[in-house]
Structure formats: structure tokens, C-alpha cells
């Protein structure tokens, strides 16, 4: 059996996704149709524009099946490993950034974090821990080893960002303090 090329697979995926949007997502998740009648006049409904986007995606899928092409670009196994690690590192860092401040406040028996979020050192806990995790994690993976140098660079970078945004502007809040 012939192996399915990545472009053909992408085309089939686009056709399926386009149909899913046009036939299921848009009709079931939008309150008005393609065209509506309001006060005796016809007006464009909320479904028309996303249906047009679905048609674009569907059409691109059909075109991918017939278009002449030079190569067959696809993510390799190594690409998937790399982006998988980046996603894991990013998600972990953002979660640390979001929840470490409130967690430390809770464990130390201080006030509710919401009341402390614009007070040093509380306001820096999440950003410092999350930021250092993100930078250190990514450098360590790319270099294939953890180094103290990466840690100091991460710490210096986080301190630099705090100096850039938090110190000069009273009305600017670093993540996650604006919406905890």
C-alpha cells in the first residue's frame, strides 16, 4: 500500500476540519444563521463569516490534494519531541507563575494573595519562579544539560524585566498579578 504523503494527509485533515466547522461547530455554537430577517429587512447573521472561514479551509484542503508540489514538508519525530518538551516546559512555567504566589501566601499563613499582589516580595514570587523555570528549562533542553550559568542568566533576565516594567510604572502589574 502506498504511504500517505504529509500534504495529502494535511489536505484531508483540512477538508474534515472545514466540514466540522461548517456543519457542526457553526450551526450549534452560533445563535443566528447565515442571513436573518430583522424588522422586515434581511441582515447578515453571525454564522456567515465563520462559514466563509470554513469554506476557505475546506477549499485549501481540496487544493492541497490537487496542487503540484516540490516537496512534502512535515514535522519529523524530532520536531514532535522538541515541541512536546517546549509545550511541557511552557505549561509548567505558566502554571508555576500563576499559582506559586497564592500557594506561598497560603502556606505561610499570610493574607489572601489578592490583597498582597501589589506588595513586594509577594508580587514577584510567581514571576520569578515561573520565569526562571521557563528560561532555565528551555536552555537546559537545548544545551542537553543543566548549567548554573543558565540559572544566573534566567535570574538576571527576570530581574531585568522587573526593572523594565515594575519599577518605573506604578500602574503596571507583572503576571499573574493583574487578574488573580
Amino acid at each position: 500500500m502506498r504511504k500517505l504523503s504529509a500534504t495529502v494527509a494535511l489536505g484531508l485533515g483540512c477538508i474534515a476540519f472545514g466540514l466540522l466547522i461548517a456543519l457542526i461547530w457553526v450551526p450549534f455554537d452560533t445563535d443566528t444563521g447565515l442571513v436573518e430577517r430583522s424588522r422586515g429587512r434581511y441582515i447578515v447573521g453571525d454564522s456567515l463569516a465563520p462559514t466563509l472561514a470554513a469554506v476557505f479551509i475546506l477549499l485549501s484542503g481540496l487544493m492541497l490534494l490537487v496542487e503540484r508540489r516540490d516537496g512534502d514538508a512535515r514535522p519529523s519525530r524530532n520536531n514532535l519531541i522538541f515541541i512536546g518538551v517546549m509545550i511541557a516546559c511552557g505549561v509548567l512555567s505558566i502554571l508555576v507563575m500563576r499559582y506559586s504566589g497564592p500557594l506561598v501566601a497560603l502556606l505561610s499563613g499570610a493574607d489572601e494573595y489578592r490583597l498582597l499582589r501589589d506588595t513586594a516580595p509577594w508580587k514577584y514570587i510567581g514571576f520569578v519562579l515561573g520565569g526562571v523555570t521557563m528560561i532555565c528549562g528551555m536552555i537546559a533542553f537545548v544545551e542537553g544539560r543543566f548549567s548554573l550559568r543558565a540559572f544566573w542568566i534566567a535570574l538576571a533576565a527576570v530581574a531585568g524585566i522587573i526593572l523594565l516594567y515594575d519599577v518605573p510604572f506604578d500602574d503596571v502589574l507583572l503576571p499573574p498579578n493583574g487578574d488573580v
Binding site: 504529509a6 447578515v44 469554506v55 507583572l174
Partner: protein, 532 residues
């Protein structure tokens, strides 16, 4: 003020730049904030352009929230902020030649062709001369392009306002999106997919009905996807992931960087300028023509400029002169003039039609939308006898472009030649830091963790798009234009009494729609080399 004419508006624009809020007084002369910001932007642009892995887009993404925090949301902020972005745009194009010539590492993608002759020149001890040629050609091309922009954009805008009604404007937007989808990248199908995904993303959580459409009943989607999160995610984070992965694959160790010592005469003589001028002229014309079409990048301009220069050079070169690709100064001139002349012309569609032609234009639109008081598009160029503040801003922007070019001509070259050291910053340290800085900048602007999640998600999408060789530019432009396309279509539909064929009733609109269909299907017939 009454009876304002075109010259009055030009003069008011110049005054808005030079006599606006002052930053400081130098020898009794007040220096305006706009002037200062253009200079800062240019310097930053040259620095990021000269740093491999960074670029104008990243600098704009990080700077915009800081600038808005500093200048606030009032019309006085428009010229300093947009002047800064214009400075970054121009500086990064010039700066990209530095690592390309000194270290065979293009600082920006469009500087790749510069490595072909620049690096051999540097290896043969002519590094400073190569940098001077790159600077002269780049700034010449940029200046030519700006003149074309300043002359053409107002006329084009006036024609659009005079001859295009709502159905024609809707059809023009469709034509622009189809054109961008068809010409950007190597595949029309993939361009259309990128465009479709951008439209889908912008329609989530928006609409006119009480229920936010396509929100799946979730709070996160019901407010829609912030435009900055989508743009920064796809463009900046996606590029950072791709760059980091390349480093991961290389295992970073590329050995020590060898730099040849300069030897012989490094000055740029009038005879040198006379030799390269025909190449600069040809490439500036090519780059400007390509740049005026939305969505076509400077990389294509550089490629065509280089190829045209190569053919011309083959006919007239001296027997002992180096070939193109072996250290010919004309090769650097042809490339740099072409890629730099795209930037000014790229603003023709954004200022005359409101359609962003490249990523720098996207950030100018984001800045204008964030600050308010200026809506790039044909309505700006209304030469009304009563004061039209938007037109003053438009001429102010033209003034900042001329100013940036003057600074580039005078101090840009000297500054550029001092930046070779930046290429030594290890990218594996720089890129994660830039990633965090970008996310922090986004948060400062949006004050919402969901914006960070969205940006990260779109960054992953941008990474996969690059791995499938799908250009992210149609996505971004569709995202920015999607709302306007829907609004214009709604108004046109209502204005024509609910006529379902409103796009085909007028000959102009019908021609635009047929053109859109024809462009996509004709581009199916022959795959093009990757351009973006």
C-alpha cells in the same frame, strides 16, 4: 482654522513632529519627543537587526506595550509611538547586513543574499567597505521607496474613496486576502489555509448577537482572542520555537567565529558609488514595485533584485572582477537596495487602503488601534478645509520616515559598523529570555493570563505552520482584517436591500471578486519558490 490646503496639511504634519511635546532643550533648541523616539527606534532596529535570532518584529512586539504605558492613550502618543516603530522597521533592515557580511549569518531572513558577496568580501579583508556599500545601498533603496509612498499613497486613497462604495470595498478586501494567500509562501493552498485559520480565529467570541459565537460556552473564548496575543504568538513565539529547535539540532557547537582582519583601502569612493548606482537603481525600483503589493516579502525582492543584478553584471563586468557570489560589491548593492526599498512601499496599502502588507504594518495598525485617533485607510486622506487631524498624523508619519532616513544616512552607518560584537551572544540564552520578555510585554498590555495562554497556544500553532511550510503572514493579516471584512459586508448587504449578489452587481466589485478567484486558481498551476 479654515480653508486648509494640501500644503498646509504637509506643513502641519512637519510641525507635529518637530514642534510637538518636547523631550529636552539642546543649546536652546527644543528637541521633540517624536524626534527622539524615531532616533531610539532606529538605534534599537539596527541593534536587533544585527543580532541573529532577533528582528524588527520581536522588537516591535516588546516595545509596543512599554511605549503605550509611557505615552498613554491620547492622540499626542501617536507620532512618538508610530515614529519609534518606523525607526525600528528601517533600522532592522539595515542592521541585518552586519552579521551577514561579517559572519556569514544573516541577521534577518532577507539579508541571506547579502551573505553571498558580503562574506567573501569580509574574508578578503574588505569587511568595512562591504558594510559601507550595504549601508549606502540599503538607505538609497529605502529613501526611493519612501518617496514613492509619499507621492502615491494619498492619490490612491483619494481614488479609493471617490470610486469605491461598500460592495467594492468588501470585494477589495476579499481580493487582497486572496492575493496574500496566493503569493506568500510556496503554495496557494497553504496560503489559503493560513488565511482561513486567521479568519476563523478572529470570528471566535465576536459577532453582533448576544451569544458570543463559537465560544463553546466558555468564558475564555467568549471575549474573543486578543489580537496582540494571536499576532505575537504566531509571529514571535512560533519563530522563537523554530530557531531554538535549529539550535537544538545543531547542538549549538558551530566552533569559534573567525574574523578576517581588514586589509587595504576601506573607504567608499565616488568611483565605487558610480559602479554600484545602476544596481541600486534597478533593485530599488524592483523592491518598491514588489513592496507596493500587499503580502509580498522583502526576501522575494532581494532574490529578484540579486538575480536581475547578476544578469546585468555578467554583461558588463571587467574580466578580473569577482563574479556575483564571490565577493562582488554590486551583489551586496543589488540585494540591500531591493530588500530595503520594500519597507516604505509596503506602507502604501496600509495607508491608502487600510490593508497591512507586512508584519511591520500590522504593528503600526495595532499601535493605531491601541492608542486611538488614527484609523489607517482611505478616509485618512480627506483634504477637508476644516482640520482633519488624521491627515496631519499621516503627514507627520511621512515626516518621521524622512527623518529616520536622514538619521540613517548620517549616523546609521557608523553605528551599524560598530555592532559586529552582537553576533557573539549565544542564541540559546537569548531566545528564551526574549520569549519571557515577549510574554511579560503581552501581559502588561492585556493584563490577563488567558492572553499568555492564547499566545503560547498560537506560538505552537505558528511552529507547526512553519514545519508544514505554511506562511504565518496570511493568518496574521486575515486576523487583523477579518473584523473589517465582516463589518463592511454587513453594511454593504444592508445598503443593497439584502441583495445576496451584492458583490457581483457593480462591475468593479465583480472584477475584484473574479480577480480573487482567478489569482488563487492560477497560482495552483505552478508552485513557487518559498518567499516569505
Amino acid at each position: 482654522m479654515t480653508d486648509l490646503g494640501a500644503i498646509d496639511y504637509v506643513w502641519l504634519g512637519v510641525q507635529a513632529v518637530f514642534l510637538g511635546p518636547e523631550a529636552f532643550v539642546l543649546f536652546g533648541i527644543p528637541v521633540s519627543i517624536t524626534l527622539l523616539m524615531v532616533a531610539f527606534g532606529l538605534v534599537l532596529g539596527i541593534v536587533v537587526g544585527a543580532t541573529p535570532g532577533l528582528g524588527g518584529v520581536i522588537a516591535m512586539a516588546i516595545s509596543l506595550p512599554i511605549l503605550i504605558s509611557v505615552f498613554g492613550f491620547n492622540s499626542d502618543a501617536l507620532l512618538p509611538v508610530m515614529g519609534f516603530l518606523i525607526g525600528v522597521m528601517k533600522g532592522s533592515t539595515v542592521g541585518g547586513a552586519v552579521p551577514a557580511i561579517l559572519f556569514n549569518t544573516p541577521g534577518t531572513p532577507d539579508a541571506f543574499m547579502t551573505t553571498l558577496d558580503g562574506y567573501p568580501m569580509a574574508r578578503s579583508g574588505k569587511a568595512r567597505k562591504a558594510l559601507k556599500i550595504a549601508h549606502f545601498s540599503s538607505v538609497s533603496g529605502d529613501t526611493f521607496s519612501d518617496i514613492v509612498l509619499i507621492v502615491c499613497a494619498p492619490f490612491l486613497a483619494i481614488m479609493v474613496e471617490a470610486y469605491l462604495d461598500l460592495p467594492e470595498k468588501t470585494a477589495l478586501l476579499i481580493l487582497s486576502l486572496s492575493f496574500i494567500a496566493a503569493v506568500v509562501g510556496g503554495s496557494a493552498a497553504k496560503g489559503l489555509l493560513s488565511c482561513g485559520l486567521g479568519l476563523l480565529a478572529v470570528y471566535i467570541g465576536s459577532g453582533e448577537d448576544f451569544y458570543p459565537r463559537l465560544s463553546l460556552g466558555t468564558d475564555a473564548l467568549s471575549d474573543g482572542i486578543p489580537v496582540t496575543a494571536a499576532v505575537i504568538g504566531i509571529l514571535v513565539l512560533g519563530a522563537i520555537f523554530t530557531e531554538l529547535e535549529d539550535l537544538w539540532h545543531q547542538a549549538r557547537e558551530s566552533g569559534r567565529i573567525e574574523v578576517a582582519r581588514d586589509e587595504g583601502d576601506q573607504r567608499l569612493h565616488w568611483a565605487d558609488i558610480r559602479r554600484i548606482l545602476p544596481f541600486v537603481g534597478r533593485s530599488a525600483f524592483i523592491g518598491t514595485a514588489i513592496g507596493a503589493l500587499p503580502g509580498i516579502g522583502s526576501t522575494l525582492a532581494a532574490t529578484i533584485g540579486y538575480a536581475t543584478g547578476k544578469r546585468f553584471y555578467a554583461r558588463r563586468k571587467a574580466p578580473d572582477a569577482p563574479e556575483f557570489g564571490e565577493g562582488a560589491p554590486e551583489g551586496i548593492a543589488a540585494t540591500e537596495a531591493a530588500n530595503s526599498s520594500v519597507s516604505g512601499a509596503n506602507l502604501i496599502p496600509v495607508l491608502s487602503l487600510g490593508i497591512p502588507g507586512n508584519t511591520a504594518a500590522v504593528f503600526l495598525i495595532l499601535a493605531a488601534e491601541s492608542i486611538g485617533g488614527f484609523n489607517p485607510g482611505p478616509s485618512v486622506f480627506k483634504f477637508s478645509t476644516d482640520l482633519n487631524p488624521e491627515l496631519v498624523i499621516a503627514f507627520g508619519l511621512f515626516t518621521t520616515m524622512i527623518l529616520a532616513n536622514l538619521l540613517n544616512w548620517t549616523v546609521g552607518g557608523v553605528f551599524m559598523r560598530s555592532l559586529g560584537v552582537l553576533v557573539r551572544i549565544p542564541k540559546q540564552y537569548l531566545l528564551p529570555v526574549v520569549l519571557l520578555l515577549t510574554l511579560a510585554s503581552l501581559y502588561v498590555e492585556e493584563t490577563s493570563m488567558s492572553a499568555i495562554w492564547f499566545a503560547f497556544g498560537f506560538g505552537v500553532l505558528g511552529y507547526f505552520m512553519r514545519r508544514f511550510e505554511i506562511s504565518p503572514l496570511p493568518f496574521v493579516i486575515a486576523f487583523v482584517l477579518g473584523g473589517r471584512l465582516e463589518d463592511t459586508a454587513r453594511q454593504a448587504f444592508s445598503a443593497t436591500g439584502g441583495d445576496p449578489f451584492f458583490l457581483l452587481k457593480s462591475p468593479v466589485a465583480a472584477a475584484f471578486v473574479l480577480g480573487a478567484v482567478a489569482i488563487v486558481f492560477l497560482s495552483l498551476r505552478k508552485p513557487k519558490a518559498a518567499q516569505s
